[in-house]
Symmetry: C2
Subunit: 603 residues, 2 copies
C-alpha cells in the first residue's frame, strides 16, 4: 500500500484551491516575516553569545523547518522564487554553521551541551528539519538540505544507538520517528527506518528516560508505558499522536501485528472517547493533554491546532495497515474543522487553541484568567512565542494532497475528494467537484492499470449513489474500473443535527450542526448574546444559504427565551421563535471579537 | 429596630431542633476533638518555640473562637458542662498568656512581630474572640473572656487609631468590624462602635494598605475602593461579605444613608447577579472570590460554606435598615441550602466548598486536579488545615434563633419560621410549625404590646393565607394584633421548577427543583450515572414523598436518553420515560461518593 505523492497532484479548483492560493499568496510570506521579525531566521547564523538578546529558543529550528517544508509542498503547484531564495539562503547558513559531525541546532550550538536535556526538543527539531529536507528535495530536486540531514541522522545514530552516549534514550517530544521514515523512503537507507524503530520500541520502555523524568512527566513525555502496551492515548496530545504516527509507519513497514494492534487501540480510544467533533483533541491546557474518556469541555478546550493536525498524520498512516474508511474520516474531520479553524480566512492569523465555545465577556474577565480558570484567546494572532501552530497548519494545507490517494497492487483508494488532476508515471486521475460545498464528485481515470477503485463513503453520509456497481467493504465502495473510465459519485449532504454520547456531560441536551464533514457554529455577530440559551429545532426546516466562507451557511429554525431579568424565576415552556444562522466552525472569529458556540440546545 | 436575642428563644421542635440536637450531641464534641488532635487547643499555651512542630497557624485562634461562640449559643438551650469546662480552661490559658497590654494571639505571641503583616488574620482572630466573648458572656454570665477582649480592644484602639503605629490601617481579612459592634452592644462602650466605623471608613480608602498589597490583592483584600463607592461585590467572598455586614451595622447605628445605599447596591449585586440558587457565592477557588455578573459555574463552584453564612450575616443586618423581605429571603436561602450543605447529616463531616454538580469520575481524575482544573472534593471531612467552615456552620446552627425576630416601636417582624418558644421580659411568642416540611405556621402571642406583627412572605411563595386581615408591604404581611392573639399563616408549598437568567450560561436549558426554600438535587445513588443527560418534565406530575433527610424527597417525571454507544451520532427526539428522585441539596453526599446535580435539563 503506497501513497500517491502529493507532488504529482495538482489541486485546481474549489475549496482547497482557494486555501492553497491563500497560502502561496499570503500565509507563507506573512509567517516568514513574523519569524524574521522575531529573530528566528537570524538564529541560523549561530552568532548568539552570552549577554546577547534573543537567545534562539530550543524549538525555533522546528518553526523554520515547518516553514521550509511548507515552501516545498507549495512549490509542487506554485512558482514562488522569493520563497525558494529564502530557503536556499537558510540552507546555506545551516551548512555553514553545522559542526563537523553534521550536528545542527541553532540553540545548542550557541549554548549548552547537546543531547543532555531530554525535554529540550533537540531531536524534535532534527526531525522537522528532516521532513523539510525531504519535501524540499522532492519539490526542487535540490539535495543540499537532504544531504545535511542524512549526515545529521548518521550522527544521531552514532550517539543514540551505536554509542548510546546521550543523556537520554528517546526524545521527550516525538517527531523524529516519523521523519526518519520519510528519510528512509526518499533515500532507501534502511538504517533510518531502523533508527525510527529503535525510538518507537524504546519510548516508555527504558529506565534511563523514566529516571530523568519522574512523576507526572511520565505521561506528558509518553514514558508511562511502551506503545505496545497502550490502550489509551494519554499525556501531551501532539507528543502522543506524533509518536503514534511514527508507530503506525513502523507497524506497517515491519508488518508488526502487535504494534498495529496497539496503534489501533489508541486510534479507537481517541476517536471514540477523547476527540472533539472538530477532530481536535486536548481537553486541558495543563500539559496540553488528554484527560479521561468523555471529558471534552467546550469553553476551556485546549484543542491545539497542532494536535488536530497530528491526528491526521496518525490516522492517514493507519490506512495502510487496515483499509477502513474510519481513518480517512478522522482526517477529513481535521481537514475541515479542527485544523482549519487554526488559520484566519485572510491567511495571516492563527489560533493555537480552538475551543468549541467562546464567551467573550467571561473569557476575558480578569479574575478568571489571572491565576484562575484559563480560557483560550478569542482572536487569532500572527505569531506566538511558541509558534508551532502557524507553520504546521501552513504545511498541512500546502500538502493536503498527501491525504488523497493510496494504492496497492489492484486497488486505488480515494480517501479525500478534492478537485484536482493527478498524473503519475502512467495513470491520470481527475476529480471534478465542489466538495464539501456540494456532494457530487466526478472521477476520470486515464491509462488506469488498477482493477478497482475504492471510494471512501464518509462516515457522515447515509445516502449516496454511484454510477457503477459497487461492493461495500469497511466503508469503501469498491468499483471495478476500466483503463479509461468515469465514475460519478453523489453524496447526499443534508443538514445534520448531531448528538454527543451522554457521557460527554458538557454536551447534554445539545446538538452540533453539520453538513457533510463541516461542523457549524453560531456566532454572536449573527445571533446576539447568550448563545447558550438559544435552541435549535431538530425537526424544523433548514436552509442552505450562500455565505462568506466558501461552504454555505445554514439557517435553522430555533427558539429563544422569553425575557426575564431575574436571576432565578419560575420556569415556563414558552419560547419565542427565531431564526438561527450557522457559519462553518473553521471560519469563526473572522468578523471581530464575538461569542461562538458549536453545541446548541436542542428543542 | 432591634433583634430579639437568641438567648430568649428556645427551639423546641421540627427541623432546627433536630439540627441543634445534633450540634449539641455530636458536632461540638467532634469539632473539639479534631481541633485538639490538630494541636489548635494546645496553641493557647503559647509554648511553641523555634524547632518545635505544629507552629500555631495564624488563624487557629479564630477556629477556637468560633467553637467557643458555638458553645455559647448552644448553652442558651442545652446544659453541656463538658463543653463549658473546656471553654473555661481555654479562657484561663488566654488570660495567663496574653501580654501586659491585653494582646492575645497564639501565633504572634510565639513568633514574629505583631501588627506588621496585614494579611495574617491578626485582627480577624481578635474579632472572632470578641464574638466568642460576647456569646459566652450572654450564655453563662461569665465575664472573664469579655473583659479580656475589652482590654484587647482597647489596645487595638491605641495601636490602630490613637497611635496609628501598626504597619497597616485596616485588617486584610475583615471580621473585627462586626465583632466590635457586638462588643459595643453588650458593653455600651461607644468607643468600640467608633473603632468599627474607623475600619469601615478606611477600608479601601487609605494609601497605607494599598501600598502594602499592590496588584490583584487590592480586590482580594477589599482595598480597591471605599465601601461607599462600591456598586458590586468583588474579591474574596467571605472578606467582602463580613465587611459589608459590619458596614450595614455602622450604616444603621450611625443612620448613614450614603453607607446604606452602598451596602444596598452591593446586596442587590450579590443576590441578583452573583449568587448561586443555594445562597452560596464564590465562582472560583482562585482567590475564593466573586468573578463577574452571571458567572456561576456549577462543577467548579467554590461556594464556600463560610461565604454562604457571611451572606446571612450581611443580609440579616440589612433588615434593620430597610424592612424588606428580600433580606430575610436571602438568609433563608442560606439556612436551608448553601450553609447547611456544609455539614453532614451525622454532624461530623464538613464541606468547605459546596458545588452544585459533582461528577465523581471527572472530579477525581488526576490530570485535571494536578495543576489543572480544580474541582471540589466529593466527600465531607471532619477537619481541614484551614478549618474555618466547621465551627462557622456549627455556630450558625447553634445561633439560628438570631435570624428570627426584629422589632421596632410598634411592629414585631417574624423573619424565619421555626418551631419555638420565645420569652422576653414581657412578650411570649410561640411558633408551632413543621416548616419547611410543611407550610403551616401557628403563631401565638401572649402579653403582646406591639400593634402589628409583620409576617415575612417568602419570595418563593405565590400563594398563602392568613387567618386575619393583613396589609402587604415590601414582602411582609402586616397584621394588627391583640395582647393575646393567635395568627395562623399557611404558605402553599408546591414543587417549583426554577430557571436561571439566560446570562447564566452554565444553566441554559436547565431547571432547579425547589419546594419552599429548599433546593433539591439528583444523586447518582438514586438516579444512576450521567445525571446531566436526564430531563425533568416541568409539566409532569410530582410527588412529595417521605425521605431520609427531614424534609420530603420529590419524585418527578422525567426522561432519559435512548442508548447509543457512539461518541457522536444523529440526534433524535426520542426519550425513555423515567422517574427522577430528588433529595434536598443540603443532604447531598451523605450516602457514599456519588454524582450530584442541581440544574437538570428541562423537557
Amino acid at each position: 500500500m503506497r501513497n500517491i505523492d502529493c507532488k504529482n497532484i495538482k489541486i485546481n479548483d474549489g475549496f482547497w484551491k482557494i486555501k492553497q492560493d491563500m497560502v502561496n499568496n499570503i500565509t507563507l510570506k506573512s509567517v516568514y516575516e513574523r519569524f524574521k521579525e522575531t529573530h528566528r531566521f537570524d538564529a541560523l547564523d549561530c552568532t548568539w553569545k552570552e549577554g546577547d538578546p534573543d537567545l534562539p529558543h530550543v524549538f525555533w529550528d522546528s518553526d523554520i523547518a515547518k516553514w521550509i517544508e511548507s515552501v516545498g509542498y507549495n512549490a509542487f503547484a506554485y512558482d514562488n522564487d522569493e520563497l525558494i531564495k529564502i530557503v536556499d539562503e537558510s540552507v546555506e547558513k545551516i551548512i555553514k554553521n553545522r559542526d563537523e559531525n553534521g550536528y545542527f541546532n541553532s540553540h545548542f550550538l550557541v549554548t549548552g551541551e547537546r543531547f543532555t536535556v531530554r525535554n529540550e526538543h533537540e531531536l524534535y527539531c532534527a526531525g522537522h528539519l528532516m521532513e523539510a529536507a525531504v519535501a524540499y528535495y522532492k519539490a526542487t530536486g535540490k539535495r543540499a538540505l537532504l544531504d545535511v540531514m542524512c549526515k545529521y541522522a548518521d550522527y544521531i545514530e552514532k550517539i543514540f544507538i551505536k554509542e548510546q552516549s546521550a543523556e537520554f534514550m528517546t526524545p521527550g517530544h516525538p517527531e523524529i520517528e516519523l521523519a526518519l521514515v520519510k528519510l528512509y523512503e526518499v533515500t532507501g537507507e534502511k538504517r533510518y527506518l531502523e533508527m525510527s524503530k529503535f525510538f518507537i520500541d524504546n519510548h516508555g520502555a527504558n529506565d534511563k528516560d523514566k529516571e530523568l523524568y519522574p512523576g507526572c512527566h511520565l505521561l506528558y513525555n509518553q514514558d508511562e508505558k511502551p506503545i505496545r502496551e497502550r490502550d489509551t492515548v494519554d499525556g501531551h496530545c501532539v507528543r502522543a499522536l506524533y509518536l503514534l504516527a511514527g508507530a503506525a509507519d513502523i507497524a506497517y513497514l515491519y508488518n508488526d501485528k502487535e504494534l498495529f494492534e496497539a496503534t489501533e487501540r489508541c486510534f479507537e480510544n481517541v476517536v471514540n472517547k477523547r476527540m472533539y467533533i472538530t477532530g481536535a483533541t486536548g481537553s486541558t491546557c495543563h500539559g496540553e493533554s488528554f484527560t479521561i474518556d468523555y471529558d471534552l469541555p467546550n469553553r476551556d478546550a485546549y484543542a491545539e491546532t497542532c494536535a488536530a493536525i497530528s491526528l491526521a498524520f496518525f490516522a492517514n498512516r493507519m490506512i495502510r495497515l487496515n483499509a477502513d474508511s474510519k481513518y480517512a474520516d478522522a482526517v477529513e474531520k481535521v481537514m475541515y474543522n479542527g485544523a482549519l479553524s487554526g488559520i484566519s480566512v485572510d491567511g495571516k492569523g492563527f489560533f493555537y487553541e480552538n475551543p468549541l465555545e467562546i464567551d467573550v465577556d467571561f473569557n476575558n474577565v480578569h479574575p478568571c484568567t489571572d491565576g484562575g480558570r484559563r480560557y483560550p484567546i478569542t482572536q487569532r494572532k500572527e505569531v506566538f512565542d511558541c509558534s508551532c501552530c502557524p507553520p504546521n497548519v501552513t504545511r498541512f494545507i500546502a500538502g493536503i494532497g498527501e491525504y488523497m490517494y493510496l494504492y496497492n497492487v489492484d486497488t486505488l483508494f480515494i480517501n479525500q475528494y478534492i478537485a484536482s488532476e493527478t498524473q503519475t508515471d502512467n495513470l491520470k486521475i481527475t476529480q471534478e467537484t465542489q466538495y464539501p460545498s456540494r456532494g457530487e464528485v466526478k472521477i476520470t481515470l486515464e491509462n488506469n492499470i488498477k482493477k478497482y477503485i475504492a471510494l471512501r463513503i464518509p462516515g457522515w453520509c447515509n445516502d449516496f449513489s454511484v454510477n457503477k456497481e459497487y461492493t461495500l467493504k469497511k466503508g469503501y465502495a469498491y468499483v471495478e474500473v476500466e483503463k479509461d473510465d468515469e465514475i460519478i459519485i453523489n453524496f447526499n449532504m443534508p443538514v445534520r443535527f448531531v448528538s454527543a454520547n451522554k457521557k460527554v456531560h458538557t454536551n447534554s441536551g445539545r446538538v452540533a450542526i453539520m453538513r457533510g464533514p463541516v461542523v457549524y457554529c453560531l456566532e454572536g455577530v449573527d445571533n446576539g448574546k447568550d448563545l447558550t440559551a438559544l435552541r435549535v429545532d431538530i425537526k424544523g426546516k433548514t436552509q442552505v444559504a450562500e455565505g462568506e466562507f466558501i461552504v454555505p451557511d445554514i439557517i435553522a429554525e430555533g427558539f429563544k427565551e422569553t425575557e426575564n431579568d431575574n436571576l432565578y424565576f419560575d420556569a415556563t415552556d414558552e419560547y419565542i421563535e427565531t431564526s438561527l444562522k450557522f457559519i462553518p466552525y473553521y471560519a469563526y472569529a473572522n468578523r471581530g471579537e464575538t461569542d461562538m458556540l458549536v453545541w446548541v440546545l436542542k428543542k
